[in-house]
Amino acid sequence: MNNNSNKMFFLFILFFSTLISISSNSWFGCWIGLEINLLSFIPLISNSKNLLSVETSLKYFLTQSLASINFLFMILIKFSLLKNFNMNNIISIMMNSSLLMKMGSAPFHFWFPNIVEGLSWMNNFMLMTWQKISPMILLSYYFNKNFLIFMIITNLIIGSLGGLNQTSLRKLLAFSSINNLGWMIFSIMISENLWLFYFLIYSMMISMMISLFFLMNMYFMNQLFINNMNFFIKLNLLINFLSLGGLPPFMGFMPKWIIINFLLINKFYFLTFIFMMTSLIIIYYYIRIIYSSFMFNYFKMKWVNLLMKNNMSLINLSSFISISSMILSTFIFM
C-alpha cells in the first residue's frame, strides 16, 4: 500500500493494541490486545501489487493466529481447571510457548527469518522491535523459570549458529534478533525495568542500522561491497555493528554488561558462559558484514554512487551517540 493515511490509521491501532495488552487487568484483555495487534499489522505489511508481500502477510497471519488461539485456550484452561497461582505447571509452559511463538523465539522461530525476508526494512523494524513488547510483558506475568532458562539457551544457540550461513542482511538481523531475544527473556525474568533498559538500547541500535540499510536500499551482503560508499557511512556501519555485538567502548556493551551483572548475582554461571560464547559467534558474522568498512580500498564500482548528502547529519549523530554514550551515560548519575 502507498504511504497514505491508511498506514497512519493502522499504525495508531497497532500502538494502541500493545497498550491494551500490557495494561489490562485480566488475561482476556491481554488476548484481545494480541489479536488487535495481529489484525492491524497485517494491512501494514501486505501490498497487493507485490506477490511476495501477500505471501509473507499470509504466513504471518497463520503463525500468529495459531499462537493466539493457543494462548486463549490456555487462559481458559487456567481459569476453569486450575485455581492455583503455582507457576511450575504445564499450563504456564504452554502459555509461555504461545507467547514465545508470537515473538519469534526459538524453538518456534522458523517463521521468523522467512517473514523477515519478505518484508521491507521499515516493516522489519516494526516486527523486530515493537511487536516484541506485548508478548514480553505478558511473559513476565506468569512464567516458568526452568522452561524459560531452557528457551534462553535455545535462543542463544540458534540465533548465533543460524546466522552463519546467511547472505541476506534481513535474515542476519533476524537471527541476531533471535539471539537478543535470549538476552531479553532473561532480563524480563529479573525485572521489567531491566528489560526496558535492554530493549530501548537494542531498539535504538537496530533502528540506526535499519535506517542506514533503508537509505542505501541494501538487502544483501554483496551489495555492501559493490557500492561506492561514503567513508562516513562505512564508519557508521562499522560502529553500529560492533556496538550491536556488545564490544566496548560502544553503547551496546552496557546492556550486556548489566545483564551479566544480574546473571552472576543470581548465580547462573554456566548460563553466563553460554551467553558469552554465543556472543562471540555473533560478532564473527557481524564482522563479516563490515569487512567493507575495514578495508579502505576494495574493488568497488564507481558508477553506483550512493548520494546521501541530505541525510548525513542523522547518520553522524547516530555514530556519535554509539561511541560516546557510555561516557555520556555517566552524566545520568551526576
Binding site: P248, P249, M276, I287, Y291, F294
Partner: protein, 446 residues
C-alpha cells in the same frame, strides 16, 4: 593525570586538519616529556584524581606507550606521502593511545577491562585498514577472537568480584582473598592469551606479520604488555590458588618458549621471525610473573619494557627493508651491508639487545628472570639455558642472513636510510641501552 587525557582528546581535532601530520607527532613527544616529570613515588599510588592513579608499573608502561605511539607516527611517513587516509590513521593512533593510557591508569578494575577491550578496536582497524596482504583479514579475525575468547570470562570474573566484595578499586583488592579455582582460571586466562602463552599464541605471528609497521610496533610494544600488567594486578587477591597452580603456566610457557625459539630458525619471513622471538621473550615474562617472587616481578617488568622497545625497533628495521625491496623474505633481503652499512649498525645494535647482550636492559631482565626461575626450581636451568642460547642464535641468524653474503641480483635501486629512519631507530635504541645506567627507578619497588 586528567591533563594528559585531555591533551590527547584535544589532539583528535588536530588530526583532521591539513598538514598536521608531523605536528601530532611533536605533540606526542611533548606529552612524553610532560609525563616524565610527574613525581614518581615507589610503593604507593600517586597522582590520584577522580578515577586515575599512577603506580610505578603504570608509569613505566604509560611512558612506553606514549613513546611507541609517537614513534609509530614517525615510522609511517609513507602513509602521509602517498596520502593513504593518514587523517584517519592519526585518529586511530591517538584513539589507541587514549585507550592504552586509560587502561594503565584507571583505578577501577571494570574500567580497566573496558579500556583493555576497547584498545582492540583501533588495532583491528590498523591491521585490516593499512596492512599489505589479503591475509590480514584472517589475521584480524584471529587477533579479535583469541583475545575476546579469553577476555569474556575475565568480564565474568570481574563482575563476580564486584558482587562479592562490593568494590572494584584496584588498591583495595589486596586486602581480600578470593581463592577459587574457577575464578582464578577466568581471571588469568585473558592475560595469558594476550601475553601470549605458548598454546594460545597462534594469533601473534599472524597479527604481527600482516599488520603495517605501526600496527606491528604497537602490538609488540604495548599490547602484549597489557597481559603482563593485568597479571600483575590480578594475582594479588588470588595468592593461594596461585601458589598451587602456577606451575602449570610456568612449565607450559618455558617449554613453549623453547619450541618457539627453535621454530624461529625455520622462518623465512623477517617479521615472522621477530614475532616468534616476541613469543619466546614473553614466555620468560610469564614464567617470571608466575613464580611470584620479587626478582620475578622485577625481571618481568624490566623485560616487558625492554622487549617493547627492542621488538618495536626490529619491526621498524624490517619495514625499512620492506619499503625498499618490497619483500620480507630472507632470500631477498641478503647482503644489505653492501648497500646500507649504517643501517647494519642499527640492525646489530637492536639485535644484540634482543639476544640480551650487555649493556642492554634485556640483559638485566633476563638475569633477574633467570635468578627467579632458578630459585623456584633448579630444573628450569636447562630450559632457560636453551631459551637464552637460542635467542642469541636466531638473533645472530637474522643479522647474518640479512647483512652478510651476496645480495639479491634482482634489486634495482634505493637510497640509504633517511635521517627520519635513523632518528626512529636511535630513539628505540637509546632508552634501551642507556636506561641500564639508572635502572633503580623501575626495578626498586619497595
Amino acid at each position: 593525570m586528567m591533563k594528559f587525557l585531555f591533551m590527547m582528546i584535544f589532539m583528535i581535532p588536530l588530526c583532521f586538519m591539513k598538514n598536521m601530520f608531523w605536528l601530532v607527532q611533536m605533540m606526542l613527544f611533548f606529552m612524553m616529556f610532560l609525563f616524565m616529570n610527574l613525581n614518581l613515588n615507589i610503593m604507593c599510588f600517586f597522582n590520584m584524581s577522580y578515577m586515575f592513579y599512577c603506580d610505578i608499573i603504570s608509569f613505566g608502561l604509560i611512558l612506553l606507550s606514549i613513546w611507541i605511539c609517537s614513534l609509530m607516527i614517525m615510522a609511517s611517513e609513507s602513509l602521509f606521502k602517498l596520502n593513504f587516509y593518514f587523517n584517519f590513521f592519526l585518529f586511530n593512533v591517538i584513539f589507541l593511545l587514549i585507550m592504552l593510557y586509560l587502561t594503565f591508569s584507571v583505578l577501577n578494575l571494570l574500567l580497566f577491562y573496558f579500556f583493555f577491550e576497547a584498545s582492540l578496536i583501533p588495532t583491528l582497524l590498523l591491521i585490516i585498514g593499512w596492512g599489505y596482504q589479503p591475509e590480514r583479514i584472517q589475521a584480524g579475525m584471529y587477533l579479535l577472537f583469541y583475545t575476546l575468547f579469553g577476555s569474556l570470562p575475565l568480564l565474568m570474573g570481574i563482575v563476580y568480584i564486584f558482587n562479592d566484595l562490593n568494590t572494584m578499586t584496584i588498591y583495595f583488592l589486596k586486602f581480600f582473598n578470593m581463592n577459587m579455582y574457577l575464578l582464578y582460571i577466568s581471571m588469568i586466562f585473558a592475560f595469558l592469551v594476550k601475553m601470549p602463552m605458548y598454546f594460545v599464541h597462534l594469533w601473534l605471528p599472524k597479527a604481527h606479520v600482516e599488520a603495517p609497521v605501526s600496527g606491528s610496533m604497537i602490538l609488540a610494544g604495548i599490547m602484549l604488555k597489557l597481559g603482563g600488567y593485568g597479571l600483575l594486578r590480578v594475582m594479588i587477591f588470588l595468592q593461594e590458588v596461585n601458589l598451587k597452580l602456577n606451575y602449570i603456566w610456568i612449565i607450559i610457557s618455558l617449554v613453549g618458549g623453547l619450541f618457539i625459539s627453535m621454530k624461529c630458525f625455520c622462518q623465512v619471513d623477517m617479521k615472522s621471525l621477530i614475532a616468534y622471538s616476541s613469543v619466546a621473550h614473553m614466555s620468560m615474562v610469564i614464567g617470571g610473573i608466575m613464580v611470584m617472587n620479587y626478582w620475578g616481578f622485577i625481571g618481568s617488568y624490566i623485560l616487558m619494557i625492554s622487549h617493547g622497545l627492542c621488538s618495536s625497533g626490529m619491526f621498524c628495521l624490517a619495514n625499512i627493508n620492506y619499503e625498499r625491496l618490497h619483500s620480507r623474505s630472507l632470500y631477498i633481503n641478503s647482503g644489505m651491508m653492501n648497500f646500507m652499512p649504517s643501517m647494519s649498525l642499527w640492525w646489530f645494535l637492536l639485535l644484540s639487545s634482543n639476544m640480551a647482550a650487555p649493556p642492554s636492559l634485556n640483559l638485566l631482565g633476563e638475569i633477574s628472570l633467570i635468578n627467579s626461575l632458578v630459585s623456584w626450581s633448579n630444573i628450569s636451568m636447562i630450559l632457560l639455558m636453551m631459551i637464552s642460547f637460542f635467542s642469541a642464535g636466531y638473533s645472530l641468524y637474522l643479522y647474518s642472513y640479512i647483512q652478510h653474503g651476496k645480495y639479491f641480483q634482482g634489486l634495482y635501486s634505493f637510497y640509504v636510510g633517511s635521517s627520519r629512519e635513523y632518528l626512529l631507530l636511535f630513539l628505540h635504541w637509546f632508552p634501551l641501552n642507556m636506561m641500564i645506567l639508572k635502572v633503580d627507578f623501575i626495578s626498586i619497588w619497595f
